[in-house]
Amino acid sequence: MKRQIPLIISFVCGIFMLIQFFIPHPGFISVYRGILNWARIIGVFALIIGIGTLVRLHFRRITRRSPGWFYSVVVFAGLIVTASAGIIGGTRGKLFVWIFQNINIPLDATMFSLLAFFMASAAYRAFRARTLDATLLLIAAVIVMFGRVPIGDFLWQAVAPQSWVDKVPFLPEQVAEWVMSGPNMAARRGIMIGAALGAISTSLKIILGIERSHFASSSQ
């Protein structure tokens, strides 16, 4: 029972959603709309689960006084203040918007902007033309980096002979665009087709109940 019913649910939902794609009849569509709504409602709970896991992790840290437990207190303080501000004051509430504008945005954006520095350091230290592959990669990267900012065209127009500039005033930009829409696009398309076949095969295995790794986490 515990094993069979989930497999049946997957199979029925999967097959229904697969064939409804081809059937525009309203009878099918109303069932389909029902399924979409159900998925959405379950989704609401799935969101809360993520928070539940987080709360559990930090709660344990605090009760066990594990190293850095003070930071877990910070997590809780942030969570409780923000959630109550938003739930009581509404999503356009003054405090809620204030927290978002002045804490959430700067923290998230700054955290990610650290990568600009890491990237520069990696560019200097790790991006070496050690192999033919790495060399090709670097050349393409430099072309795109140079061509996709105004200074590429600017330098080209300043340095290249005037007759060339007259012919192709935006050469760096155009070369970058060719790399993007030519070789880059071809490679990405190949990867995409391969990945699509992989996704179809995984989906089929889920519907047929052969692939069950998504149940694994629940039995842990």
Binding site: F21, N104, A120, A129, P150
Partner: protein
């Protein structure tokens, strides 16, 4: 320690400094460089330009605060274009962390071109589950969005009276930092034949080219440069245009670092070989 060795083992904090300077200097000593508008960006502009007055566009603010520096200026430029063309705008988001961003962007647009909420634009807020939301709009937008951001029933909003599903929406503009463009293409594009334009972060650009070239996207605005190009098209001097100088300098700095790194590496390898010979 020889120079090459010292250069090889340079403290990474010096490199951080180089980047900081490259980004800072253009802010203090600004200069002007012309922005070239690339075809994928122009296509989005031309498509919106050709829409008749009163057409409906659905704008998805699907980015987290971390990518605001790239996508917020882009959002403003695109919104400005839509309101200058007198289009009806439906805003929404599939990212919980973007709910407030969409609201702010639409308000900023409404102030600058005197748009009225519920008449000229509507903000529907956030819904989880890409698939269910995108497919739901294809049947009836009130399924995924029974209410707007302020919990007002969508059926009672005057602007929404004649808008039921994708058939009434001329263009979906996804401003996204994740895999929302792919999802729109699959669930709204293939299934309902919806026209889609994408404004995305730089990281996503190269992966979206196959869709662009196969005609599944009407156009693509990529990264801060794309935003600057759009600002140029709508004649707006926004954050993206101002950022282009710093962007240029930083790119030059990184290209320089890559070249320097490789030169040092080649020299040290050459030396190492010599030593072996001796």
């Amino acid at each position: 320690m020889s120079l090459t060795e010292r250069l090889l083992n340079i403290d990474r904090r010096y490199i951080y400094l180089v980047i900081a300077v490259a980004v800072l200097v253009p802010f203090i000593l600004p200069f002007h460089m012309p922005v070239y508008v690339s075809q994928p960006v122009r296509s989005v502009y031309d498509f919106i330009e050709a829409l008749p007055e009163g057409s409906v566009v659905l704008v998805g603010f699907n980015y987290s605060p971390s990518t605001m520096p790239e996508l917020y200026p882009m959002s403003l430029a695109v919104l400005k274009h839509c309101c200058s063309r007198k289009l009806k705008i439906i805003g929404m988001t599939l990212y919980s962390s973007a709910a407030t961003i969409g609201d702010t962007a639409l308000k900023e647009m409404a102030e600058s071109c005197s748009y009225q909420e519920l008449q000229d634009y509507v903000y529907l807020g956030y819904k989880p589950n890409f698939e269910a939301t995108m497919l739901g709009i294809g049947e009836d937008i009130a399924d995924p969005f029974p209410t707007d951001y302020m919990n007002r029933p969508v059926t009672e909003i005057s602007m929404m009276k004649n808008i039921k599903n994708y058939r009434d929406i001329a263009l979906v503009i996804d401003l996204g930092s994740g895999n929302t463009p792919e999802a729109w293409i699959a669930y709204a594009g293939s299934r309902y034949g919806q026209k889609i334009a994408s404004g995305c972060t730089g990281v996503m650009v190269s992966g979206l080219y196959p869709y662009l070239k196969a005609g599944q996207l009407v156009g693509l605005i990529g990264g801060l440069k794309g935003a600057a190009e759009y600002e140029k098209l709508v004649k707006l001097t926004g954050k993206a245009t101002l950022g282009m100088n710093a962007q240029s300098m930083a790119h030059l700095a990184i290209i320089f670092l890559v070249l320097l790194g490789n030169v040092v590496y080649l020299i040290s390898r050459h030396k190492a070989r010599k030593k072996v010979k001796v």
